[in-house]
């Protein structure tokens, strides 16, 4: 069997597995976020938090909950790293420096998991297990919660608050309870899948122990020193929560994180399963699963198209070093091959995960461009857990607006009018990330010192910097590893890009949710755009490509396109 055919078969097996999980998981998640019952363990947790899980929140209260919880997360994780030197169970590792501790805390709370440290030499058991891995759970749960709040904005038939005298019906819709959404996401979705997934990974060979630093005898004498740890339990949520921060420097290329071809496909499955299934949850909650399928079709088409392109360019291996070697195997592991590496690379960059099983900097010029463009789409195909769905729904709002302009009708989506306020919020959402990416990249290129961090020169060096801010602001976290990002400049600016790139869009999404939830739905007429039809899927995909293309083309031309065309 040729490697190309094997790659295609792996892709088909993956699609089959995702299809099998789509309905049960999507329906389960819809039940989780609409159920009125609380589990006993959840009741204890609400008591400890001091929150009433049945209190309905307006979008402002919901947002305050998101921000307060995330601020607490940044603070806690920062202190945990700063105190590592004096914490027991830390392998005797030093405390992390302030700028790097800020960067890492921002990174994990923002679901980005950009890492300017090398896990195995910097972070001990306590920080990895009780700090970083916990944020992998909760930042994912926050993402899903915000997406569900937006879905409720579309789904709720009327503003619950509008009945009270003195309330203006607009902007007063309720969007759910943040604490309940957070706790349920962890307890009923992420944790159960993680327990099973972690054991599957251990069965494949991923470490799970607390044995500390461990010396292992070698074939020709001498020893290798490595640190063990709770790796499988962190690995599974790193992928399931589309976080991406590796226990080891080599991330999922390290054999102890990803031991073989099966674990590799399983890890890709874990990354994709929630973001895709959330479209089913969305469909269920708005009362038409076909609306969910239309969103799913857009996501899947982009993901599949990018994967096909990536396989083509990597098997074709353009580039002087690869021509000489006879294949683009630099930075790729033998057990995964080109096919397994390409599938992982596209999946990780299209989902805001940022885990890598092969090193993106050593992909072909066009391969690197596909990875960059994948992130620049805004992480929506299928995107991060929750963030993928809300990003795609914002694009859907833009798409119906464009369609409305073409036919001269007031745009509407799922029975809600897309008015001036909604369009303003959606426009702010799509502008914020490119502004961060291009602004920080431009400043870094203009200043004299940040350029010293580039490993490669010329177009590829520019790509390293562009990639870093694209990855940070889009909350991806993967790196064109050549950049030496552990400098005060990059730790601080990428840290800011990650926080602003995560939480400013959430402000606009929740404001949009509140605005929609305050509207009484309008009845469907003959002139209503059928958003569950293939025509809309095409329109949506087109809108995404055009908006991203116009935003980033000049920057892409200076980096990967210049490199790809030169080779």
């Amino acid at each position: 069997m040729s490697p190309v055919l094997a790659g295609v078969l792996q892709l088909l097996a993956l699609i089959a597995a995702l299809a099998l999980a789509y309905r049960p998981l999507g329906d389960h998640m819809a039940r989780v976020y609409t159920s009125t019952k609380h589990l006993r363990v959840e009741k204890w947790m609400y008591k400890a938090i001091g929150a009433d899980p049945d209190a309905e929140m307006r979008w402002t209260a919901y947002l305050r909950g998101v921000l307060a919880f995330s601020a607490a997360g940044v603070l806690f994780l920062y202190l945990l790293q700063r105190l590592q030197g004096s914490l027991p169970g830390s392998l005797g590792f030093r405390s992390i420096d302030p700028d790097q501790a800020f960067n890492t805390a921002a990174s994990f709370v923002a679901n980005t998991n950009w890492q300017s440290y090398s896990g195995e030499q910097a972070m001990g058991h306590v920080v990895q297990t009780a700090g970083l891995a916990v944020q992998n759970f909760v930042s994912a749960a926050v993402g899903i919660a915000v997406a569900v709040a937006l879905v409720r904005g579309f789904a709720l038939p009327r503003a619950l608050g509008s009945a009270r005298a003195g309330d203006t019906p607009i902007r007063t819709g309720f969007v759910g309870n943040f604490w309940a959404d957070l706790v349920r996401g962890v307890v009923r979705i992420l944790l159960p899948i993680s327990v099973i997934g972690a054991l599957v990974l251990v069965a494949c060979g991923v470490l799970q122990n607390f044995s500390g630093i461990h010396g292992v005898g070698q074939f020709l004498g001498g020893t290798q020193l490595w640190n063990g740890g709770a790796i499988a339990t962190q690995e599974v949520i790193k992928l399931l929560g589309t976080n991406g921060g590796g226990y080891f420097n080599a991330n999922s290329a390290h054999p102890f994180e990803n031991p073989g071809p099966f674990s590799n496909l399983f890890e890709v499955f874990l990354i994709l399963v929630i973001p895709f299934a959330l479209t089913r949850t969305f469909g269920k909650m708005v009362g038409s699963v076909r609306q969910g399928y239309a969103i799913l079709a857009t996501m899947a088409a982009i993901w599949l198209g990018f994967t096909a392109l990536m396989m083509w360019t990597e098997f074709h291996h353009g580039g002087p070093a690869f021509d000489l070697a006879g294949g683009a195997t630099e930075g790729k592991e033998t057990r995964f091959g080109i096919g397994g590496s390409s599938i992982f690379a596209v999946t990780t960059t299209l989902t805001s995960t940022g885990a890598v099983n092969s090193f993106h900097s050593s992909y072909t010029g066009f391969g690197g461009g596909i990875e960059l463009l994948g992130m620049q789409l805004g992480e929506i195909a299928p995107g991060g857990v929750g963030s993928g769905l809300y990003g795609m729904l914002v694009m859907a709002v833009i798409a119906v607006f464009i369609a409305g302009l073409m036919v001269g009708r007031t745009p509407e989506y799922l029975g809600k009018k897309i008015g001036t306020r909604e369009i303003k919020l959606a426009a702010c959402y799509i502008l914020i990330t490119p502004a961060l990416v291009l602004g920080f990249t431009a400043v870094s290129m203009a200043l004299p010192t940040p350029k010293d961090s580039m490993l490669n020169s010329g177009a590829h060096g520019f790509s390293e910097v562009l990639y870093a801010f694209t990855s940070g602001a889009n909350n991806n976290g993967s790196a064109f590893g050549g950049l030496s990002a552990d400098t005060t400049w990059f730790n601080t600016t990428i840290g800011l890009a990650m926080l602003l790139g995560r939480f400013l869009p959430m402000v606009f999404v929740l404001a949009l949710a509140g605005s929609l939830a305050g509207q009484t739905p309008i009845p469907k007429t003959a002139g209503t755009l059928r958003t569950e039809k293939p025509l809309f899927t095409g329109l949506l995909a087109g809108a995404i490509m055009i908006i991203t293309g116009l935003t980033y083309f000049p920057a892409l031309a200076l980096g990967p396109l210049a490199e790809g065309l030169a080779s």
């Binding site: 929150a51 806690f76 009780a130 307890v187 799970q208 690869f322 070697a325």
Partner: protein
């Protein structure tokens, strides 16, 4: 104003309490429970898939290692010990730069791009070395025979595998250096070649450590036979 400060403090308090509760659940109970189950169900795998040979641990099945000659005086980079099958290059593998009280393996890739002069030079040098090392008096290796994995570094720098074609390429040399027949060495390579998982996942590969253990058994057996004959 006072009210809003109090409200913010109350909200932050709730956020902190939520974080602590979830930390106990996801950061303490979950990893401990799974570690317990993993240690009970998959003890060897949860602890690093170590391999024993001749009664001592010789490494992990999953982690690549070097098969080099001891450093001579004044030598900086070790030379490969050509009696053994050689792994892929690992130019991205590092040594730890923080917490240097331990000499930890630092996994990593070169991160060099396809048009990098440094990578071109690395590939060129590696190719020449592979050709030189594997050419014997009776067998000349041609550049087109050298597979890509033999001259490129992996992502982790710890790739435990090589492609079957790189293993095949080394058979002439290994047989000559160990004074065993090529057929027997080739048989070892074939026995230690893993196909794709379920026929389509990943790539065919050879675990270098397992192959070298088998080679050691073969040559030790051969040597015993040789001494036996001399006595007779």
């Amino acid at each position: 104003m006072n009210n809003s400060v109090a409200n913010t403090a109350r909200l932050l308090g709730a956020g902190l309490r939520a974080l602590l509760v979830l930390t106990v659940l996801c950061g303490v109970l979950y990893p401990l429970a799974v570690t317990g189950a993993a240690q009970a169900l998959f003890h060897d795998k949860a602890n690093g898939s170590e391999i024993k040979a001749d009664g001592r641990t010789v490494g992990s099945e999953l982690i690549g290692q070097r098969y080099d000659l001891p450093l001579r005086k004044g030598q900086k980079t070790p030379e490969p010990d050509l009696r053994w099958f050689q792994p892929r290059p690992s130019n991205g593998l590092g040594e730890n730069s923080v917490n240097t009280q331990h000499e930890l393996l630092l996994s990593g890739a070169t991160n060099l791009s396809g048009d990098s002069k440094e990578l071109i030079a690395q590939v060129k040098d590696a190719k020449e070395a592979v050709i030189k090392d594997n050419s014997t008096a009776s067998h000349k290796v041609s550049p087109s025979e050298v597979p890509a994995d033999a001259v490129t570094s992996s992502g982790s720098g710890l790739d435990p595998h090589i492609s079957p074609s790189y293993a095949d390429l080394q058979v002439h040399r290994v047989a000559e250096r160990n004074h065993v027949s090529m057929a027997r060495v080739q048989a070892l390579v074939d026995e230690n070649t893993e196909g794709r998982t379920l026929g389509f996942m990943g790539e065919p590969r050879v675990n270098v450590l397992r192959l070298n253990i088998a080679l050691k058994e073969l040559t030790a057996g051969g040597r015993r036979l040789l001494t036996h004959r001399q006595h007779a």
